[in-house]
Symmetry: C2
Subunit: 258 residues, 2 copies
């Protein structure tokens, strides 16, 4: 069905990584990445990366299970520019095609973010879009995706849901946005999800308890895939009785619904 001349060009592989980036606790990589993902990652030597240092740390873990095609010092790792990180990949106007030059020469290229699935709640979509424009085959590999693990475990509606990225940092704007998302969830039944920088977790929980209605269901998932994973799903009224949210070091996903 693919009409592009895939045989002469390399593929763009979307390579998921463990969710324990920056966490004290790390499990063996085979616990969360299946065999096909590990074998594929070990065979790539051209990378487009959110952060080269974490990509090298990831490849060191891969190498413990599968020998790398070329040693780490010879891996080519190109970082996405800062503008893509800061503004979001769809607002930056960034052209990802130059990052895929190796694929046009027949080499497979891997796209990786710091944790989880690249181009989902993370930069990278400009590179995927460029790959389609260049007629490359795009192959997403299986691995952990924090948003979907959180959604499945929330008990909220998984047949109609939205992820809206980050909320405003300003308290007044954030409160207004929360009320807007809550109204949308109640009107349409659509679960609303977002993430927050870990050091603002406690501030986010305060804002939620201050702005949402007591009957709204609030789920907070943190430390996903780790032994310390904690997933709580209760009404806002129940949260107000003293349930503890995640600490200010652990990445968390927030979700609300009727």
């Amino acid at each position: 069905m693919n009409t592009a001349p895939i045989n002469t060009k390399g593929c763009l592989f979307l390579v998921p990584t463990p969710l324990d980036f920056g966490c004290a606790e790390q499990a063996p990589i085979t616990q969360v990445l299946p065999e096909a993902t590990l074998a594929c990652a070990a065979g790539i030597r051209h990378w487009v990366s959110e952060n080269a240092k974490t990509t090298r740390a990831f490849l060191k873990r891969v190498a413990q299970t599968h020998p790398l095609l070329v040693p780490l010092p010879e891996q080519s790792i190109t970082e996405l520019p800062r503008q893509v990180h800061k503004k979001g990949d769809h607002l930056s106007g960034f052209d990802g095609k130059p990052l895929l030059a190796a694929a046009l020469l027949g080499h497979d290229v891997g796209l990786v973010s710091e944790a989880g699935m690249p181009a989902v709640a993370d930069p990278g979509s400009s590179v995927v879009r460029a790959a389609h424009e260049l007629g490359l085959r795009v192959v997403p590999l299986v691995g952990p995706v924090s948003l979907l693990l959180a959604l499945a475990a929330s008990g909220l509606n998984g047949q109609n849901f939205a992820f809206v990225g980050y909320l405003p940092q300003d308290a007044v704007e954030r409160g207004a946005r929360l009320k807007q998302l809550e109204a949308l969830a109640h009107k349409t039944g659509q679960t609303q999800m977002w993430i927050e920088t870990p050091y603002r977790n406690a501030a986010m929980l305060s804002a939620l308890l201050q702005n949402l209605q007591g009957a709204t269901r609030l789920a907070i998932a943190s430390g996903l895939t780790l032994a310390s994973a904690d997933i709580q799903s209760r009404s806002v009224a129940q949260w107000k009785k003293g349930l503890l949210g995640p600490d200010n070091h652990t990445p968390a996903v927030f979700a609300i619904g009727p």
Copy 2:
């Protein structure tokens, strides 16, 4: 952080399954499920399932990699009632608590759907919600999630997206809904995703080309995780030049954005 008395009760594990359900092509299960997921599934003997027959087929594949705690004939597999399948898990008013009786006796319970992640674009959220109400620990395991693989590979905005389930079957209603989703995507930048029963894939593509604007980007992903996977992401105008969509046997995910 978990204030529930987790030690005396079993956990509810959300067990993802391969996406090759009903497909002629099947790869070894280790290709798409990581070690921790397989080991956990092999240790469970109480299941809540979308379809008992497919759950038994899944457990046979698991058994090829990890010995099951109890043989297949002794596994307890309880199907979700039809009302949950038909109406969607959030409209049925179904109380999932009776399905979790084994967990209250200290046994772990596994929740599975026919393919992919339970409770995401599949029934199961009523059972997860019941688990939280009973104070059970809910543990989502890593595996393939077609929606997120499709989103990552689409090149569409992965930092703001929605999944809206199935569209209306009636041609006029479907056309109106498509125009509504397209307007929302252009206004907010939010990627809109949905799925369709495979035998309507060709009808869906016709409806898309008939109703959407030429500049709208349309991505269709089918056969995800299979060797025959096909992911095309082009403008509607480019699709109209004769790109082929998925056949009427392969599950597909549809996504549009600006």
